[in-house]
């Protein structure tokens, strides 16, 4: 009964410092194992933008099914009775989100923040992020794959097109990096 009257000593809330990231080569090695396991067990590599694509088409199919049925690119995913979400890559991209949450939580890195160069405002960064995302999303569909589905997966199984694609991505980014240095440095 004595303890009940006393206020429990305020537990000092530890501000959790985010743990450091793993060494790039170790991260790469683990990513390589995941990539190998994906190919070895399922025959498919990894993917991300394909899943995002199908979420978009799912929404489109809810709003304007006739339009989807008349657009050949969308038709293959959601024409008629097809459910665009009934595909492995949709499930995989949901897994990516979960994995990111769990890792961020375990390592104390879930924090509402904006990562940006020191010389721009948050708003500028957000606008650039949206613009870059739109460009990236467009390019990824044109190239039939993003960094995961084309570069990583296609690279590991030695697809000729994926290797050329990979150099194009780095080429495009390096070509513009100097012009945009103000945004990152």
């Amino acid at each position: 009964m004595t303890t009940a009257t006393q206020a429990a000593p305020a537990k000092i809330r530890r501000v959790r410092e985010p743990r450091p990231y793993v060494h790039p080569y170790l991260g790469g090695f683990l990513l390589g194992l995941v990539l190998f396991a994906a190919f070895f067990i399922t025959g498919n590599g990894l993917g991300a933008s394909g899943g995002l694509n199908r979420y978009v088409v799912f929404i489109q199919d809810l709003i304007a099914p006739e339009h989807v049925d008349q657009t050949s690119y969308l038709l293959t995913m959601a024409g008629g009775d097809l459910n665009p979400l009934d595909n492995w890559v949709v499930i995989m991209s949901a897994g990516v989100l979960l994995g990111g949450i769990v890792s961020g939580w375990r390592n104390g890195r879930i924090k509402l923040e904006t990562n940006k160069g020191p010389n721009i405002t948050n708003r500028t960064r957000w606008g650039m992020a949206f613009l870059g995302g739109a460009i990236m999303g467009y390019g990824a569909r044109l190239a039939r794959g993003c960094t995961s589905g084309q570069a990583l997966s296609g690279g590991a199984v030695l697809s000729a097109g994926s290797w050329i694609f990979m150099f194009a991505v780095f080429g495009g980014a390096y070509a513009l990096a100097y012009t945009l240095r103000r945004f990152w440095n």
Binding site: V89, G99, G100, A129, G132, G133, G137, G139
Partner: protein
Amino acid sequence: MPLFPLPLNTLIGTLGTYAVYLVIGFAFGYVLEISGFGNSRKLAAQFYFKELTVLKVMFTAIVVAMVLIFLASAIGLLDYNLVWVNPTYWWPGIVGGLIMGVGFIVGGFCPGTSIVAAATAKIDGIFFLGGVFFGIFLFGETVGLYEPFFNSSYAGRLTLMDWLNLPTGVVVLGVVLMALFMFWGSEQLERIFGQRDLTKEPRTRLYGAGALVLVAVAVLFIGQPTNADKWTRIAPERQAQLDARAVQIHPGELLTLQEDRRLSIRVLDVRDEASFNLFHFTDAEHLPLATLAEEVPALLLAPANTVFVLVSNDEAAATEAWKLLTAEAVPNVYILEGGINYWLYLFDDGIGDYDPALFTAGDDSLRHPFDAALGDRLPAARPNTHSVDLKFEPKVKLELKRGPSGGGCG
């Protein structure tokens, strides 16, 4: 047939398969996050030579997965033909890649990493992800304007080995050495532009590099299985099918299948050109046995509802072709029973005579006299199924396509 990749749908059903993909996706997201790919500054630093994390993580992952895949294939654990190789579309890939590079430096992420960034509450990641959705939407709405370009410069399942005309082991070792050289270069750049102290880098990375080279050399020396090796491995099971005549379909079954609109029937005529010119079926594709192996990558990309029917004069060449394709894991391959000789006997009985004993014993020559090369200008090239009453025992069982049906981002 190699055990892997597993026929997941048959083994554990759709839900089980999806659970596997969920676990793989989870591991993927987890590893991206611990590598720092949720942080746009870390990603963008790649392009200012301060910290080449992107390149190191990506290429380490690629070479590690690559050596393991080709090692597993070399020792017969994994069937490389059942592994999804992104089909090559040269120009859409290059232009799309350049556009993505621009998006990368403007936005600081790629689609996969932005999911992880959003998962850890990075506001810029959330905006980027919103942008990706918008860009994808825009693409779906505008690709119709330039569909011919989107589908142009198609090269199919083209690997670096095919393209460079080099053995697999050489390419694998070459890629490993190139990656190691790039890692060395990256570290030098980090030293110069990022003031990184290389003496503090773990020594383990050198052992890792050594191990990669060793495995790549092992892949080179073991070599990839040839078509004959693959056949030897599956022969006990598959030769029994041939002997039991379980894959030789009656002409009547072929005609019936051709009327089934849910199926895509591809008749592959494997005879020499002279026989093909004398007579062949309407819609038959001429793929002589000698060059059939080159067509395998294209056949592997056929939709899941495709049934291949191999045709020769008797059955000898078609049986050889069947062994070749089956060993290469092409699904749903059948042989036309009795070949062209039996076919003409049934549907053009003005010509020749046919002894069923010659099905397998025949010398595979065309035993019907033709005055001219008629090609498919003979009614028997496309007989009217309703005018003949054929009794046959159906043998075709459509097998679920094992392995992948489409690419990660497809």
